[in-house]
Amino acid sequence: MTLDATDRRILKATASGLPLTPHPFEEVGRWLFLPENEVIARMQAMQDDGVIRRVALAPNHYALGLAANGMSVWDIDDTHAEALGAQVGALPFVSHCYLRPRALPDWPYNLFAMLHGHSREEVEAKRAEVAALLGPAARGSDVLYSTRILKKSGMRLAGEG
């Protein structure tokens, strides 16, 4: 999808969040001198196209007690990787799930699944659930815990420098 300048203005205006009023799209329209129905129609088109995944609330995992997360990684036989990846991604405690290339010999793993829990013990228990689901198709696995955030910058919109 190619975004035009008005689409980009809408995304930029809402990048830090929707205005908290009962009619947020009307308010965005006021900011940008656009009618509410145009704001809604453009956002709906971007959502239908996948540019906007959803308009939603992002819980703070840590504040809500999900303090532990681990990046679990799995070496899955390529012939089963897509089907099994879809099953792993559907688990309620998996927040991201991707197939990626291996980097042999340093890195034999091709399935990445981020696991969340209240403690590392809970993350380990969830890793065992994933292992049970994958069965013998998983030839090896590991889990990497993050110890520090070294950098986290907001995503820049392409074309805005």
């Binding site: 959803r54 609330l57 890195w107």
Partner: protein, 156 residues
């Protein structure tokens, strides 16, 4: 904020909002109507509660979630095995690149994991090569081959 809120910080209505509004809001004139009806409170109170949840740090944001790739641009997860004695020096070199969007230290021989975000796919290899030149370390690249649909929701 990495600390947990006390259980009494949220009441049943707050928990309902967190659980329901993760899934997405209808794009309509009155998007809070359905959840207000379910909670049995006015839409203005829903909005006030969302503001309060943000103030106390129970939620990090409320708004559109974008698919960066659908908007154009290229992304790649990268990893390096950084000798512990050089960790801070290498971190400074890596973080100085504007293409580095996130960078995490992880417990593994591959101990530095970062995401390169560029406008064009060929810039990923260029940025990785620059980092290799500056640090003398190999940058392993793990581009996404396939992303799976996610059922993840945080139960409040």
């Amino acid at each position: 904020m990495r600390s947990t809120l006390p259980a009494e910080a949220l009441d049943a209505t707050d928990r309902l909002l967190i659980n329901r509004l993760q899934d997405g809001l209808p794009l309509t004139h009155a998007p809070f109507g359905p959840v207000a009806a379910e909670a049995g409170i006015p839409e203005a109170d829903i909005v006030a509660r969302i503001a309060h949840l943000r103030e106390i740090g129970a939620i990090t944001r409320f708004g559109p979630f974008l698919d960066a790739e659908a908007m154009g641009g290229a992304f790649c997860l990268c990893a390096m095995a950084v000798p512990p004695a050089r960790f801070d020096e290498v971190m400074t070199l890596v973080n100085a690149h504007p293409e580095v969007a996130h960078n995490y230290e992880r417990l593994h021989r591959l101990n530095m994991w970062f995401v390169l975000a560029c406008e064009r796919p060929e810039e990923i290899a260029e940025a990785a090569a620059r980092i290799e030149g500056e640090t003398g370390l190999t940058v392993l690249r793990f581009p996404k081959l396939k992303e799976f649909f996610i059922g993840f929701r945080v139960e409040a």
